[in-house]
Amino acid sequence: MKQSLVLITVDCLRADHVGFLGYSRPVTPFLDGLANESSIFTNAIVVGAPTYFSFPGIMASRYPLSLGRDVLGIAPSESTLATTLHQAGYQTAAFLAGNPYLSARFGYHEGFDQFRDFLEGIPRESPTWALTHSRFAQLNQRIEKFSRRFPWSSRAYDEWYFRYCQRIAARQNLTVDQLRQYPSADIIVDQARSWLSSIGDQPFFLWLHLMDPHAPYYPPHEALAAIGNKQMTARRMRWLNSFWNRSDIGPRRLQRCREEIISLYDAGIYWVDKQISRLVRSLQHFQRWSDTIFVVSADHGEEFLEHGACFHRPENLPEQLLRVPLLLRSPDAAASKINTPISLLHLAPTLLELLDLEIPASFQGRSRWSEIARGHLAPEPVISECGDGGTNPFRVNDRMLPRLLAVRDQQYKLLLRFKDKTEAMYDLEHDLGEQLPLPPNALKQQRIRLLQTARDHVQRARQKRDWDLALLARLRELSYSVRAKSIAPPSD
């Protein structure tokens, strides 16, 4: 009988916030137990961050900028894990918790019999009447304009405006469920269970993408209580999320609420863990667990001011963003713990080999299964990249940014910032927090080796580009450009 595959990706899940990779807070009791019968990877590295730079690697085994940096997502007719399994006769379904970059617009529906991205009906915070009412808005704009003349008045205005918005918002008295912007993991798992009950004993591929640890952080009270935070109210959560999102204040002030924010983030992880345990119980109930390969990973991590930033903006590629959990449970394989860095570029081909399927020629990664089965990976440099500092990748022009490239091996990491032609090299063995860049000419041989890898990577992207796929992706984009043009006001 063919084996089936479950792939769970958790948005923003850092490697150092799961118990089986050493986190001290008990947020992943179920996965910690499952790790005892799985291969776990202490240095699994994403091909890019955030989501839109990471998923081409996970789904299509491709570096994110290799089709050209104007191309976002999966190109039409590009081979992916899903299309390969679909062609092999698998039943396929994806339930994705409302991440706009994992949608049909960016090609992620390809290969799925059932695809639900939960983008419909996601509540978005909208400005209240008082903040948008024209007379108030005009007065506010005048006050703001005046306040921007001096730094002290600008700071005072920002403070006043933040407090005013909070007071208005507090009057709404919303519950956590009303404040949450993404469907929580229990909703996604419910859909998956229902689908699993409908497919009989056919081989299947199920992909779930969970958003619970993604900002704004609104975990269920049950999850907060389970990790020892029973007191937090919805009102406090709202204030914390708004404060954490302030761009007008520096890290020193944000630091004051860092621990509370991390507590919310961790509660989201706890909720994910709990819902994954429900899914596994369902697989056992349907007698599918013994023939299912089960994978849990993430698209990128999250920053909590370690380098002065919050969230996961593509402005830096620190370990907090690049290193993610990877747990691979195969019914036939022994448990192992692998410390050698491995790129998620290799995940899809590895899974296809495990399922005894042919690996598409377009995949840039290769299967590492035989090495994993032996419990030892041959070391090789791992590459991650993104467009440096983009703010709105929905606009094609905002994607044409200089590359930010990270190349790392077991010990050293080289970060190349093409925007200003600078580089920084870190010794991760002695400086995992990347606080102390090595002097520019130190460790010349190691630096040259990493630079050679960077050069080969950039060269390959240019010389081996699949222009057919790139063109198809541009044509898809064009349909959105024409649509946008058709609704734009006529120009003079």
Partner: protein, 65 residues
């Protein structure tokens, strides 16, 4: 003034396109110009090439090349 070029297209296709684009584009020329601009304007290869040269320059500084 940008030099122009005349191309030949099937008449039924032009008529169909003009019917579809009503209100969206001033003329068939502006529609086709828009489409070709959108397809051709982003040249990532140039950025890749410039970045490759930056890495090579650094390798040169370190005495590798």
């Amino acid at each position: 003034m940008v030099p122009t070029r005349t191309i030949t297209l099937p008449e039924p296709l032009c008529a169909q396109a003009e019917k579809w684009m009503a209100g969206r584009f001033d003329s068939l020329e502006s529609l086709i110009t828009f489409l070709l601009q959108e397809i051709a304007r982003h040249d990532s290869a140039k950025l890749d090439e410039a970045e490759e040269q930056i890495v090579e320059q650094r390798l040169r500084e370190l005495g590798y090349i």
